[in-house]
Subunit: 513 residues, 2 copies
């Protein structure tokens, strides 16, 4: 591949196309800043004004995306064989992705886009109130409207033969993801995880929740989160760590990546775990190929691959014994006497407490994936018509009983707990578990490539793993789609086996299974 | 005036015009957020990317401003007598200001706009390095280029008969401001201030710099700044207080106004003074007429009137004995034992130390205006050709000797101290002193209208003054130009007399003059 050569025709159709793509991405980076600011800095009174600013940029960006001139330039470029000769050249990747964006954006009639946004906005407000009041009936008509509109969008997008409506929407979150493909990977994972959770429930011993007993103030928690994220490779010259109600990361540009965590009373682990998670996203964002800034070639592969980066630092690293051998002294230094008497066994155990629970975002590394499977199966059935929206609570509760062995006491802590369906996002949830699967499979390859990895982690030397991730994943931008990247890096298609082996290997000795 | 009636023709030319104006202002509010973020939050590495985001929005906003369709709609609207019947109706004001913006923006050829921006950008970098190295010769060619371009812009803008080039540029910062008009107001002020400074120099007694001896940490300073700004009426539901290298305020929207201060070692007054100053700007921004959001009618009158709001809270209020009667206990509560033994006389005196100095931004309330006059006189001469750029240092140093009685030891602390000329901003400086003059004249009227004002300030009751400002100034938006507003509110044209009387009245007893 020779990116420079293929892109170096001044005033070619390709140059003109890319100039438009760059302008769109640049404006998108400003929209990202508006979103980040809304979650971290915006005074409460400014929310309505912010929604106007955001809507204006969304409109301008949409206009840039569907501009007929983009369609014409694409046709011109696609007639140029040389440009497409190497399918993983920057030019070919940029055209592939710009074509995809253009086609998806132009397939939806403006009326449907607006109606979906309008209903989603009301439905999200109604959902928040219905959840507060634990009143599913109140949310039901809005869920039904969201589903009707989602089906209409799916029909506009279309899907390949043998597919289903769900696929057409999921494609918007993860390219080439289909319900059938997900089910094939999830089925063995589900059975093995249910079995693992059951064995852990009957285990002869279990670690203590040592972090619940640590009482330190927010400054100490922030100090630890900052030190550890810096140590693992998040670059504060090109990034920030702030506070938000729900932790998130925002890659405005590789030189401006912002992450957040949160500090809740009586929870001395969450600020660190969440910060490591978001720093994993952030390190990916900071190491995207800056020479391809503002083009698809300079963007992250997909939500699932992004999630693999966050999960690897949070889990494969942050919940390992090796990590805590290094981190316990750092924690002691930040937490002072509140950490007195803690051993490596204590903190390693405390980060690996597995316990079936009701709430996805608070779930542990094992049961988290079962929460996702419930949602995937139910939203698939909702889209296919196999499940009516009115029957969602019953179906939800049954699956929680079956997979997690827990009784759901109310819909607020049941099928209304997540925001996603309230704004009509169908097909998003599986990307979380795909992220866990990619993380395990990538990490296994990293361990094979870096035989000293565990020893380096023990010594607080994270640079080798980071460099491995940069070289194998980050620097490629969107060169490969997620499945291709996985085969390129691990020499295997994605399977559930590495995640299961990783969990068994860590938890069996800990729980005496 | 009846704003609703004149604006209520759906799909009229006026509605179409205003819709465009609103879109432009809305995008401008996003540009304001980018600027605020750059000064407060942006990671160092993100500076280059930020300049691209900012340049893109500037280009989009410029395109919206000079769109020929705006020109056509303006002509259509201006033919509608009903719209213009009442010159202070929202419609008439919006048309007047939109016409002005359109004419000024279209008078400059795109080439000149770009060349000015390009040279200013390099010149500002060169200025920073030249100042660092105390090397005026290095800055000189860039200053000369800036002046040449400024003259070209001034020629494009033009000016009325009897005016001069400087006026054409100053009009961009303060409508109807002319060098001759400024000189008429400044001349008596200059003589009186030089005399006052001399008398203070020979005064039988002088207050101590008590704040220099107070050693407290940043949290204590922030706490005091926050409490006082909240007390005087800055609304934290629609605002924030942050830290930046140079304090500033940013009205993104009346519901989102952000102010900053700074915390330097060994300076326990500056964080409060700067915060009160910026809160004065902020209170103005928060109380602009929100029903006219995104239109000129909903904007501040001018830089000078804006500065009058900041200066009034910083000086007329914040450096008064009445204020310190209320504020000393608040300061004690924030500063703890570091404030032991301080009396009201001490802190009132400490905020009124007058001492000729070299640096404008650190100058006291009296000498500040002399710094401004030096700059006004010199930039006027530079524009008219009476002074060559190479002769600037000598002329500068001579005026400092003459007006302030100080010897300028080097150009870094002399004619290179300010950023303004490095980016070609000619005509800006006088707005600072105009702000001081408006502040004094407005405050005198407020005192006449609110006979209890000093007693309310002593009691920490600032609501009456704030309401007076909202009713007399803020709620009018751009209804009146600054001169008209002054006559409307104070029933007199602007003169130097109220400022001089205020300074004499406060300082004579303090210094025993």
């Amino acid at each position: 591949m020779n990116d420079v050569k293929t892109a170096a025709k001044p005033d070619s159709a390709y140059d003109k196309l890319i100039e438009r793509v760059k302008q769109r991405h640049l404006l998108g980076s400003t929209a990202s800043l508006l979103s980040w600011d809304r979650e971290t800095m915006l005074p409460a009174g400014g929310a309505e004004q912010r929604s106007k600013q955001t809507a204006q940029l969304a409109r301008l960006i949409h206009e840039m995306t569907v501009d007929p001139r983009v369609g014409e330039l694409l046709v011109e470029c696609e007639a140029d064989r040389e440009l497409l000769a190497d399918p993983i050249s920057a030019a070919a990747v940029n055209m592939r992705e710009t074509r995809r964006d253009y086609d998806r954006a132009t397939k939806l009639p403006a009326e449907l886009v607006e109606e979906s946004a309008r209903v989603a906005s009301i439905a999200t407000g109604q959902w928040a109130e219905a959840r507060q009041a634990n009143d599913f009936k109140r949310f039901l008509p809005w869920l039904e409207q969201n589903l009707t509109l989602a089906r209409r969008r799916a029909e506009c997008y279309g899907y390949p033969d043998g597919g289903e409506l769900w696929d057409a929407l999921a494609e918007g979150f993860e390219q080439k993801m289909t319900a059938a493909g997900i089910e094939k990977i999830f089925a063995p994972l589900r059975d093995a995880l249910v079995d693992l959770v059951n064995r852990i429930g009957d285990a002869p011993r279990r670690p203590r929740d040592v972090f619940d007993a640590i009482d330190v103030d927010q400054d100490a928690k922030r100090d630890l989160a900052r030190q550890v994220t810096e140590a693992i490779g998040f670059d504060y010259h090109c990034g920030r760590l702030d506070t938000s109600a729900h932790p998130f990361s925002s890659t405005i540009h590789p030189t401006d990546v912002r992450i957040t965590t949160r500090y809740r009373e009586g929870n001395a682990l969450e600020p660190l775990s969440a910060a490591m998670h978001e720093a994993g996203h952030g390190i990916y964002g900071q190491n995207l190929p800056i020479e391809h800034e503002y083009t698809p070639m300079g963007e992250a592969v997909s939500l699932a691959v992004h999630e693999s980066q966050s999960r690897m630092w949070e889990n494969q690293v942050g919940r390992s014994r090796a990590f805590w051998r290094w981190c316990l002294p750092v924690l002691r230094q930040c937490y002072g006497s509140a950490a007195d008497g803690l051993t490596v066994d204590d903190v390693f155990g405390g980060t690996n407490v597995v316990r079936p629970s009701l709430i996805r975002v608070e779930a542990d590394e094992v049961t988290y994936n079962l929460h996702i499977m419930v949602r995937f199966e139910l939203e698939r059935a909702l889209m296919n018509g196999g499940l009516g929206a009115a029957d969602l609570p019953g179906a939800w509760n049954e699956k929680y009983r079956q997979y997690l062995g827990v009784e759901v006491p109310d819909d607020a802590r049941g099928c209304m707990q997540d925001v996603h369906w309230s704004h009509g996002a169908i097909g998003y949830f599986p990307t979380y578990t795909l992220g866990n699967l990619y993380a395990a499979q990538f990490f296994r390859t990293a361990e094979a490539d870096l035989p000293d990895l565990q020893r380096m982690i023990e010594a607080g030397q994270f640079a080798s793993l980071k460099t491995w991730l940069v070289q194998n994943i980050h620097r490629h931008g969107m060169r490969y789609r997620s499945g291709e990247l996985c085969e390129h890096v691990t020499r295997r298609p994605l399977t559930a086996e590495p995640l299961l082996a990783y969990l068994e290997g860590k938890l069996s000795p800990l729980y005496g299974l």
